[in-house]
Subunit: 453 residues, 2 copies
């Protein structure tokens, strides 16, 4: 489809490698079992040298990415691998582990935007995915790299994580697709089969240990010391490479126009770091000429990044996160703090928070306009409302809210809301069923009453 | 993007209209409140006259549809409205009610196909959607038509259905998006808030009546006699127009190549009728030169179409459907029988069935290869296995299984399977968590044992 010469992929892994985010010298192969800088312990990041990528100009990149959308061409039918040159070019076709994730819909929230006073409002529904959350995007990358490592004789025999949520679901699914054993560690007695049903169904080896979460992590670290098990935890910077495609995809869907704002709910801060990383690459390669302003939305019950923002990022705030309805972002000591700080500072971004009541009300309100929002998306929408009220986001700004998970993963939250049983929440939009006798006149009267409303 | 002249849309509704499927004369506007043939009571179908559509040739249509994929261009960012000329051309842009549904991933089931002996196996994940099922595709059409009816002064004030499942979820979501009141009728006392949480959250008027399902239908029919409430039940043929885009989309995703087989779980038979209708249009307009063979997959507990097929479609079999895990296709007297019979006969198709144990095993097996299948998709996969064993589907056939809903809607089914509590099901793939002491040696030994397996 492209007339331009295909630039050679970096199959030797010379121009794409791990490096320390704190600036320590050294390049590490992304196919090595390494999670943090061996010199200083900081996070690593996958660095893509720009020169090889500049062999294509901006319009060629746009044309290439556009041409790959929505087909079954292997592996470009995936939203992530449609941008493979920007993700992990050294992966061979047969080591890509993909269920054609990504390419989720970005839709106009027409009525919600009108009601909130920001008509150009868009929702990026990352939860319309295999495992019901955006984590698929990172896991396709991580598991693909592991498959190639194993094909090249690495000692790795399995992948593992300590998680009871979206991470374990996504890891288990992609490992199952690849035929790689997955091991999930968790504290015994605290999680039901229902909560674990995704990794259980995907055949993961689920180990419930007689200890708490910290105890699990300790065991995991000891067990994985011989590099036979690859850790898919949030320190792992490969996942960021997949997640960064969300931002690029949004801009592609807008036909390469940059929105004014992107709001995303954050906990461990990997997702906002990933967004920024994608935009940075687009800037460097000339695909965009300005950054969208990024907004990190936190639950007030677990708001270390918000507190850090308030002190001007002078120091990293850590805390014990409290229970929140937005449980996937209940993180007191975010791993990707340094990367996320840069994302906020460099995009003239903002960190804002939402209380339990605010997030629940925002989610319920959005549902009344056709959505089915998870509590984290509720946090983002509540933050949007605040920033509109404060006049920070203007009524004619093009604004995107990233919805990180499918509401079907959070039916308990919604049932609780509509049965008015959630703590600290006033269910102002509760909509219980109306019980009626089976008589036409009674039914007609009830319908009439409501339509008059 | 297209150099060809845009053919005028049929804004006057002269070449796209309802007609009786039994051949009674008469054209009815699709913007009229009419559900069945006024002469004979048969179903209606939306007929698209072919001549106006032939103003574009096959390659122009392909180019047009390809060009609209994956953008936010209104309303073409939707998989349904990207084919608007083939759906409801008379709809104006501002009456389209769309959350950019469709364009779901069609992915290669690499390991599952290898294991089953049909390597060219593909899964079309229609459940990766707003409301978690393929019903969104039909509802975007129905609700859009209603919006235009209301804009043109129709007496319609609300939409309604009697349903506790995917239909009510999709209707409520699209009505909420459009700001049109939705009314859901159901028998009181039999359905929990959890089962109804989608319409409840989307603000539908949920009426629980002191009667059974037949009693509800009777009341609904009386209440809607003055045409103030538009019925979104399965007799409504507008939904087929949206659903037919799934088949067209599959072929587009294969870069206009026709697969050998498409397997779909069926109950009321609207979905397979829709598939066939789309392919028929593609044949007539020259976009494809052969039909895929269609396979209708039924649960053995609710198999009237299978029984009809066995008697060579000599007569329609109706029955009282029994309880089945595949509850969305628990239908004893399918509405779209005549349309579906044609689909099977004309494509040299097949109807096959699966028992509870077969469907549960097929779903669990697929999950072990990375999927998260709903029980209906389990029916389709079990049928695939049977047809492979019988040599009907050959090992080198390109085969597509349509997954109709997201597994996240059926976590009870999966929990029941893995806790071995489902009736008539032997949980051969049950994968319970392993309880261990928090000791490195115990963990290592357990992992080693499983990896050896």
């Amino acid at each position: 489809m492209l007339s331009a010469v295909e630039p050679k992929l970096d199959t030797d892994n010379q121009t794409v490698y791990f490096r320390c985010i704190a600036g320590c010298p050294g390049k590490h192969s992304i196919f090595d079992v390494i999670y943090t800088c061996p010199s200083c312990g900081s996070l690593l990041e996958v660095h893509h040298e720009r020169e090889p990528l500049k062999k294509r100009d901006a319009s060629q990149w746009k044309q290439l990415f556009d041409s790959r959308v929505g087909t079954t061409q292997w592996p470009h039918g995936s939203g992530v691998w449609g941008m493979r040159e920007w993700v992990v070019p050294a992966l061979t076709d047969d080591n890509v582990v993909s269920m054609f994730e990504g390419n989720t819909n970005l839709f106009w929230a027409e009525r919600l935007g009108q009601q909130l006073g920001v008509p150009d409002l868009w929702i990026k529904l990352c939860g319309n995915s295999h495992t019901g959350s955006f984590k698929d995007l990172g896991m396709t990358v991580l598991v693909s790299v592991v498959k190639q490592m194993m094909a090249q004789g690495s000692p790795v025999k399995a992948v593992a994580c300590a998680s009871t949520g979206d991470t374990s679901a996504a890891l288990a699914a992609y490992a199952a697709y690849a035929g790689i054993p997955a091991i999930i560690f968790l504290p015994a007695g605290k999680v039901s089969t229902a909560q674990l049903i995704q990794p259980v169904a995907n055949g993961a080896h689920v180990l419930a240990l007689d200890t708490d979460f910290d105890g699990c992590m300790k065991i995991v670290q000891e067990v994985t010391q011989d590099n036979s098990i690859y850790l898919a935890n949030s320190m792992n910077s490969l996942r960021i490479e997949g997640q960064k495609t969300v931002g690029i995809e949004i801009i592609r869907q807008f036909e390469w126009e940059v929105p004014d704002w992107i709001i995303i709910p954050v906990g461990n801060l990997g997702n906002i770091s990933a967004l920024y990383k994608g935009f940075q690459l687009m800037m460097d390669l000339g695909l965009i000429s300005r950054m969208p302003r990024l907004v990190a939305a936190q639950a007030a019950k677990a708001n270390p990044f918000y507190e850090s923002f308030k002190n001007g990022f002078k120091e990293k705030v850590s805390m014990t996160a409290q229970q929140t309805l937005a449980n996937a972002i209940r993180i007191g000591d975010p791993v990707s703090y340094a990367k996320a700080t840069k994302a906020i500072v460099e995009t003239d971004g903002i960190v804002e928070q939402a209380t339990e009541n605010e997030l629940a009300a925002a989610a319920a309100h959005a549902d009344l306009t056709g959505m089915f929002t998870c509590p984290h998306t509720g946090v983002a929408l509540a933050v949007l409302t605040k920033l509109l009220k404060r006049g920070v986001i203007k009524s004619d700004d093009k604004t995107v809210v990233i919805s990180t998970a499918h509401g079907l993963k959070f039916t308990d939250f919604k049932v609780g809301y509509h049965e008015s049983t959630l703590e600290e929440v006033t269910s102002q939009y509760a909509n219980p069923a109306v019980h009626l006798p089976a008589r036409v006149d009674a039914v007609k009267a009830e319908i009439e009453k409501r339509l008059m409303h």
